[in-house]
């Protein structure tokens, strides 16, 4: 009943059971990107940023 938000084509409005009949390769491709993008959009943990800052600072002292 819900329109697939990831659908690339505006004409593929799925009705009830046909929702699951969306082409599987597309489903997989979209979900794959979503899995990746979810992490991409996470805020970067502080220890990553401080890692580079510390590494940089150490070089300066050398």
């Amino acid at each position: 009943m819900t329109k697939n938000p990831d659908s690339k084509n505006s004409d593929t409005i799925k009705v009830s059971d046909d929702f699951e009949k969306e082409a599987l390769p597309d489903k997989i491709g979209n979900s794959l990107k979503k899995i990746y993008d979810d992490v991409l959009n996470e805020p970067v943990p502080d220890d990553f940023l401080s890692l580079l800052a510390q590494a940089d600072a150490k070089q300066g002292r050398g």
Partner: protein
């Protein structure tokens, strides 16, 4: 370390970009989310993924003099990360991968329950794939790299990458199709079924 092939242009000596450390640091910083995303897909476990990504970040920084300015920094750092993943895996993991986490963040990230279930199943399916298929699929299908770039990163022929991506997709299709329980995908029954599916997928994938 595998050298990344330079871009099509052949710079004259006076045109060769000089290494600029501040720029390198800025570009590397901008790549952190990508490193984390690639690492998470490889490792299947968020904590380990961040450890590997941080290791790779530090290695990339320490190896900065080996980076050719103007060349593909994303591919260069991904190569480092991939090597780090396999290095850690050789040292401390069993042959099978760690149990993937329940995708709480997936459920938070989308209010579409159907999609949450599907993405959750895909995560499990991804983790079932052999490493070389999973990494090829992620590189080409999710991180926006080309087949050529993926081949450089994985140190193999482009045809090999294409073959791995194709097998990965087919295996995932088997897993996803077998895993659809008409909306009743509770964790216990899903995991039981996954063992059977894994065996099927492995025989399909050909190892």
């Amino acid at each position: 370390m595998t050298e990344i092939t330079p871009d099509a242009q052949s710079p004259k000596p006076e045109d060769v970009p000089v290494f600029n450390e501040a720029e390198f640091k800025a570009e590397l910083t901008a790549l952190i989310p990508h490193l984390r995303a690639f690492s998470r897909s490889l490792c299947g476990n968020a904590a380990l993924a961040d450890d590997v990504a941080q290791d790779a970040l530090l290695k990339a920084w320490n190896a900065r003099e080996r980076y050719r300015p103007g060349s593909n920094l994303k591919a260069w750092t991904f190569t480092i990360l991939r090597n780090q993943f396999y290095s850690i895996k050789r040292r401390s993991w069993r042959a099978t991968s760690l149990e993937p986490e329940v995708a709480e963040q997936t459920i938070v990230a989308t209010s579409d329950v159907e999609q949450s279930v599907r993405v959750n199943e895909l995560r499990r399916g991804l983790d079932m794939l052999p490493d070389d298929q999973r990494e090829a699929l992620i590189l080409v299908g999710a991180s926006g790299l080309s087949y050529d770039e993926a081949a450089e990163i994985c140190d193999c022929a482009v045809g090999t990458i294409k073959s791995r991506v194709s097998r990965a997709r087919k295996s995932l299709e088997v897993i996803m199709q077998s895993g659809e329980f008409d909306g009743e995908a509770d964790n216990v029954s899903a995991l039981d079924a996954m063992d059977t599916i894994l065996a099927e997928a492995k025989s399909l994938a050909g190892g």
